[in-house]
């Protein structure tokens, strides 16, 4: 029971639409008038998507391929979004609460600087999961991201809290400049923990360790280059 949004066509250029569960509280006509960017033009949501309502629950169902739609769930505070396909970049950016379930794949910048809530990806995720936007000092600070498939590079860069779980493999530069929080990788990954100051990275499979970590009882502690006390361990 919620608002169901379906793409009318294949998008030639990316759509930028900050779709949040707040929309579910509006009438169908109001949702259709919601302003989104299609390329460099501002258009109404109704021009690009079909909108239907199924009750009053604070929930968005995005039915179809949203891999060219950016900023879904950005800044959301509560409610739920279910994506029945893939999503584009910046999904769940700055989110503070609520839940996003993605049945397909997620693009880059998933859950960037998120401060609460939960994101579940059934497929794969791209690069820069839960990290900071260029120039910002801290990435994800709270909340949880679960990726059932694989993830790309720079997972949890500058992460300062919260948890990222990757059931598959991940790329290079995991937890770079990480300060707090937990990254758990059930598969294998490349380089981990460069300039790490705190937090914990747990890896089940193989990974590349930098020479700047010290072996201790807790695991490998470092990065000593920045007097860090982060922990990397296997499980």
């Amino acid at each position: 029971m919620a608002v169901v949004i379906k793409p009318k066509k294949f998008f030639e250029v990316c759509v930028e639409a900050e779709l949040t569960p707040e929309l579910a509280l509006r009438s169908v006509d109001e949702v259709k008038k919601f302003k989104v960017y299609y390329g460099n033009k501002v258009v109404e949501l109704g021009e690009l998507f079909e909108v239907a309502k199924q009750g009053d629950e604070k929930k968005l169902i995005l039915d179809g391929d949203f891999s060219r739609v950016k900023w879904i769930g950005a800044r959301m505070v509560d409610g739920e979004i279910v994506v029945k396909g893939s999503v584009g970049a910046n999904c769940g950016a700055f989110m503070r609460g609520g839940k996003i379930t993605i049945e397909g794949n997620a693009d880059d910048w998933l859950g960037i600087e998120m401060a609460g809530g939960e994101i579940i990806v059934k497929g794969n995720a791209g690069n820069l999961v839960g990290c900071a936007y260029y120039g910002d000092a801290v990435g994800m600070t709270a909340g949880k991201i679960v990726i059932e498939g694989n993830a790309g590079n720079y997972v949890g860069e500058k992460m300062n809290g919260g948890e990222i779980v990757i059931k598959g493999n991940a790329g290079d530069f995991i937890g770079t400049e990480m300060r707090a929080g937990v990254i758990e990788i059930h598969g294998s990954c490349g380089f981990v923990g460069g300039d790490m100051r705190g937090g914990e990275i747990r890896i089940k499979g193989s990974f590349e360790l930098l020479p700047t970590f010290k072996k201790t009882e807790k695991g490998w502690v470092g990065d000593v280059n920045v007097k860090g006390e982060g922990v990397i361990k296997t499980f």
């Binding site: 936007y133 260029y134 120039g135 910002d136």
Partner: protein, 559 residues
């Protein structure tokens, strides 16, 4: 033709204090009433409004490689959208504005002139390309001399003719305006990982000292008769206890005189006015500096007031920038400009509850209040102390003790102990603050047609919705701040560019540059220049900027 009717004029240069007057404009200049045909004039009704000259910012970093490196290393700055494209260009930037944003924001505030305060001569082309991209305002750039190997060589040889020739040649080549000196000798020492700690430290590899560099450049500047004096960023910037170095440097101006202006301008003095021996016991040296500046008639300063919030430290003082980076742990970028100078960039944010930042904030205000209004210009050393868009905050603070008391209660209590700000009762008048932002910086720079509303002056005018006869600047500081933030009208060269705080027309100002080549025998130094070009990455023939490459050059010839 424009006719500004019934405005309340404050024009310190012409000793006009809140008098109801009409102003007439023709061909971009202020003219006598009888020179215009009133029926053809566009009339601006300024009844009950404050009419002053357009603001003159004598020290800001608005163009060149430094601010560009700053923009590159601070992508987060570019997320603040200031203007969406339409009739005017799209502009972004929080503190590090894009080039058009700089012009627009100055204009909205009623400022019409701004000087880029440090331009490495070899980077002149870049600086001018970028100055050309700044709309609305008149501008100029000050080339830096204090760490140039060629300058050291002329001083080592004690050859004033050569030094004068070099200065005149370099200012002509870089289409610069005057002589800027940044941490003389210190940046050269930085090339070896060091710095100079006093005026008498020897510069590594050269038989010269900072004291000699400053005095010789003042002498060369005065013998050439440049419109502006030497513009000095002192040694030991940002080091607790540095106020003594600053005072020593100021005293180097003794023995020189100029009937028209100061012989030494010491810039962003706030960063050079710390007492104490470390940041744990740092205090204010502002009162001592103010005493010395007030006792001398040939020195001026500007404030370098920090504004709480975001800023970006960028100076030609590379060693200082490195220590700042080490101190606060922020990002850092270093620039070395061959044999001429260097620079560093470090992002910074001033926080009211941080004792050091609160101290810096208080020292800036102390300088503004304690130094004679005829000797201290208002600056934030944009973007080092903060955005120039907060000048109205500084203006209002100088005019209202009540506002200062309110702000003091919000900052770290260390300020009460380490500075005398709380006990300063001075409240500058509107007349004095208009002087500090208009006529005084114009006088310091040697711009005769700027900063005032007399006959023959450039028609750069700001009109604010503030009646000075009915406003108590000491009590109504909120109103004063709000009105100065957003000009009712800004007129640039006789054209209305801002109305009701909104941009209405885009214009391009001139770029001033000084030609003093006739005052020196350039050939005296050419053999040395040719020899030094063996060490440059460019050929001598490709060095510098031709006048025709500049959008609207305005040559000022020194004869």
């Amino acid at each position: 033709m424009l006719w500004i009717r019934n405005g309340i004029v404050v024009d310190p240069k012409n000793k006009i204090n809140a008098e109801k007057m009409d102003i007439f404009i023709k061909n971009g200049k202020i003219v006598e009433e009888n020179e215009v045909k009133k029926e053809e004039c566009k009339v601006i009704d300024a009844s009950g409004k404050l009419v002053v000259a357009g603001g003159v910012d004598m020290h800001a970093h608005i163009a060149g490689s430094k601010i560009n490196t700053g923009r590159t290393m601070r992508p987060e700055e570019m997320r603040v959208v200031r203007n969406i494209a339409g009739k005017f260009r799209a502009t972004v930037g929080r503190v590090l504005l894009t080039a058009p944003a700089i012009g627009y924001e100055y204009a909205k505030m009623g400022y019409t002139t701004s000087f880029e305060a440090a331009q490495p001569p070899i980077g002149a082309l870049h600086t001018h390309e970028e100055l050309d991209a700044i709309p609305m305002i008149d501008k100029a750039a000050l080339p830096v001399f204090g760490n140039w190997h060629l300058v050291f060589k002329c001083i080592e040889e004690k050859n004033m003719e050569k030094l004068k020739a070099l200065v005149a040649w370099a200012i002509e080549r870089s289409k610069g305006f005057g002589v800027k000196v940044v941490n003389p000798g210190g940046v050269e020492a930085w090339m070896y990982g060091g710095n100079v700690k006093s005026l008498d430290d020897q510069v590594p590899g050269f038989n010269v000292t900072p004291r000699e560099i400053i005095t010789w450049l003042i002498k060369a500047n005065e013998e050439l008769g440049l419109p502006h004096s030497v513009h000095l960023h002192c040694n030991n910037l940002g080091v607790p206890g540095n106020y003594q170095t600053t005072i020593e440097s100021i005293k180097l101006a003794k023995g020189f005189s100029n009937a028209k202006r100061q012989v030494l301008h010491v810039t962003h003095v706030q960063f050079n006015a710390y007492a104490g021996s470390s940041w744990r016991d740092a205090g204010s040296g502002a009162a001592e500096i103010a005493k010395v500046v007030n006792s001398m008639d040939n020195v001026t300063i500007d404030m370098g007031q920090p504004i709480f919030g975001h800023a970006t430290a960028m100076t030609g003082d590379a060693p200082f920038q490195f220590s700042l980076h080490k101190l606060i742990g922020a990002r850092w970028s270093n620039k070395d400009t061959e044999v001429e100078t260097g620079a560093g960039i470090v992002p910074i944010g001033y926080l009211p509850n941080n004792p050091v930042h609160a101290l810096q904030w208080a020292i800036g205000l102390e300088l503004g209040l304690l130094v004679d209004s005829n000797k201290v210009a208002l600056t934030t050393d944009y973007p080092n102390g903060g955005p120039f868009t907060e000048y109205p905050y500084v203006m209002a603070m100088l005019m209202s003790k009540k506002m200062r008391e309110g702000e003091l209660s919000k900052v770290n209590a260390y300020v009460q102990k380490a500075t005398g700000l709380a006990s300063i009762d001075v409240e500058k008048t509107l007349y004095e603050v208009i002087h500090m932002t208009r006529s005084l910086p114009a006088k310091i720079l040697g711009l005769e047609n700027k900063g005032h509303l007399g006959i023959g002056a450039d028609a750069d005018i700001a009109i604010y919705n503030l009646n000075p006869l009915e406003t108590d600047t000491s009590k109504e500081f909120e109103k004063v701040y709000k009105m100065f933030k957003s000009a009712e009208y800004t007129i640039k060269g006789g054209e209305i560019i801002v109305k009701g705080g909104e941009l209405v027309k885009e214009v391009y100002g001139r770029t001033f540059w000084v030609d003093a080549t006739k005052k020196a025998d350039i050939q005296a130094v050419m053999p040395d220049i040719r020899e030094y070009f063996n060490y440059y990455s460019v050929q001598l023939g490709n060095y510098g900027v031709e006048e025709r490459w500049i959008k609207k050059p305005a040559r000022i010839e020194v004869v």
